[in-house]
Amino acid sequence: MSDRTERPTADEPNATTGTTGPVEAAPSATGPAEEVVEITKSGRAGHPATGGGEPLLEVRDLAVEFRTREGVARAVNGVNYSVHAGETLAVLGESGSGKSVTAQAIMGILDTPPGRIAAGRVLFRGRDLLVAPEEERRRLRGERMSMIFQDALSSLNPVLSVGYQLGEMFRVHRGASRREARERAVDLMERVRIPAARERVNDYPHQFSGGMRQRIMIAMALALEPDLIIADEPTTALDVTVQAQVMELLAELQREFHMGLILITHDLGVVADVADRIAVMYAGRIVETAPVKELYAAPAHPYTKGLLESIPRLDHKGKELYAIKGLPPSLTALPTGCSFHPRCPMATERCTTERPPLHTVLDASEAPVEGRGSACHYWKETLHG
């Protein structure tokens, strides 16, 4: 896996892949992303060529449960999404909506027990990871897919120097020597623009500021130039000015390496600037998926609509801030039908009994909108009404 050639850089026609990905549950949506896949193929010697529009990562009907004392908590209930190379998918949702659990299931770092993957497939370049042997998955982690965590202070080992922790990637996956690994660690730190990298390589995580620590996390995830990065709320623990810097850095590096990026967040503001597509999660399901601009312009699910309306706006100054009424449901006792119905202003009798599939969203001329889906019986009314 180490015989990789140089990667193409950002001068390719990139980052405009907003509408490339077909939504799995929307069968009529076809949006091959030839140019994107071509780039990936040429940059990947020794890898089986992937088919035309085949995504980098495809999650199908993933279901994850946790055994708790109160019963089985269904954290993820049939999630579908896909990410292409060079694409940024934002997974949006409240705490407990299953977005992090999905990510951990993809990475294979779910705590089992108490967690259990009840159903589904996680296809990475067409290979189902859920049936792959653990050793193969371990090799993939860090090398092909890596993860950035929310709280860099607790996610980095407090008693090992950052240089050691960065260099470890090269030592474990590439068999680098101690000295070599240290050199690569300095390179990485320079790459994520940590000032005086060479002097600071032997420092410990607590000696860095929050933003710098998150840069180190990013550097660690990027170390082996993986195909896919999952960033689990990478900026939540940072203050706003640093948030912007870190997001910018992440977006820039993603463009440069042409990686697929899954950005997990609950911050609608972060998403708008960097994401190509958005998948909104609620109670362990994707309730809406759409290209970022279209979702902001016209949400097709009442939950998304509620989220957007609850953003404070300057032109609404003095008015009462909107909030979605009620609380997220308990995962051990999910509501019947649509999980959102107890909180939904549009809910009817039908919503309490019939679970809505992810409908393909059609535009005004009845043509399917590429990559748009909404798990609401009344998506049409939500969208146009």
Binding site: R138, R141, F149, N157, P158, V159, L160, E168, M169, V172
Partner: protein, 309 residues
């Protein structure tokens, strides 16, 4: 770091003076006196006793006796035993090696077995191995050392014949093994339980999740990432524990008839040999202080968040 060490070394001076004074006072408070003890049951000529006391400086006021003792110490003179006429320093240096050897062996057993069992139990928390280790360590904690000592003697020496019931030659490690096991059992149980909790807790830490997400092998994640963090509280405990082991050695030496500090102190106490008792206790206190200093320095090496200024 250097300033910290100097400060810690300077702190030893008041501890040293305080400890010697305390033991000195306690010896004085005990009934009986060493000169009279020389005559045993026989009738005594009071004039002879008074002359001998004056000769030894025991007729002086207490503070003067203490001062003389301290001045002697600074000249390297630990005093002389009244009954045997041996210099106290000889008594200490002949008895100390056996005790140090016993303590060191017990400490080694504590570290190896205690940490080892603790890691195994912590990694498999809730499993059968874990429960077995918890049960055994609870037994060690609740049964007094002398009971464990006699049980080991009966079981390993008399019934199985694997070891001698008493130590004939305290320079032979093989003979010291059984008493060292007895001495270590209590500390070992505490260390195992502490390690277990620490490992189990750190196993769930965020950085362990990161280690897995980095694609590290399970072995590397445990040995490099988990162990360094889990051992920090254990090392602190081990430092304090050396003192307990030295004190415990005195009881264990009694059970296994080891000719160490324990028997020397016991004999000195029965003859009211103040100088010997003070000398031995002071010496042990110094060993303890040095070891705790070393452990505290080691603590800073293990945990970079701790900086001594």
């Amino acid at each position: 770091m250097g300033r910290y060490v100097v400060r810690r070394l300077l702190q030893m001076i008041p501890v040293f003076i305080g400890a010697t004074l305390l033991v000195f006072l306690m010896m004085y408070a005990l009934p009986g006196d060493p000169v009279r003890a020389l005559w045993g049951e026989r009738s005594v000529d009071e004039a002879q006793i008074a002359a001998m006391k004056a000769d030894l400086g025991l007729d002086l006021p207490l503070w003067q006796q203490y001062l003389n003792y301290l001045l002697g110490l600074f000249r390297g003179d630990f005093g002389t035993q009244i009954a045997s006429g041996r210099p106290v320093i000889d008594v200490i240096t002949s008895a100390l090696p056996a005790t140090l050897r016993l303590t060191a062996l017990a400490f080694l057993i504590t570290v190896v077995l205690g940490v080892g069992l603790g890691v195994i139990a912590g990694l498999r928390r809730g499993g059968k191995t874990d429960r077995a280790i918890l049960f055994v360590t609870l037994l060690f904690i609740s049964v007094p050392v002398f009971v464990i000592g006699y049980l080991y003697q009966v079981f390993f020496a008399h019934n199985l014949g694997w070891a001698r019931p008493t130590v004939q030659d305290p320079t032979a490690w093989s003979q010291l093994l059984l008493p060292a096991l007895v001495l270590a059992s209590l500390s070992l149980a505490y260390v195992a339980r502490l390690t277990r909790t620490s490992v189990a807790e750190n196993k769930r830490a965020d950085y362990m999740r990161t280690a897995r997400a980095k694609g590290l092998t399970g072995r590397r994640a445990v040995s490099v990432h988990l162990m360094r963090n889990s051992l920090i509280p254990v090392v602190t405990f081990l430092g304090v524990d050396i003192g307990n082991l030295m004190a415990g050695a005195i009881v264990t030496e009694g059970i296994f008839n080891v000719n160490g500090i324990g028997s020397a102190v016991y004999r000195a106490l029965s003859y009211r040999e103040g100088a010997t008792v003070v000398g031995i206790v002071t010496f042990m206190i110094l060993v303890y202080l040095v070891v705790t200093l070393l452990v505290d320095l080691l603590y800073a090496v293990l945990d970079p968040r701790i900086r001594y200024a």
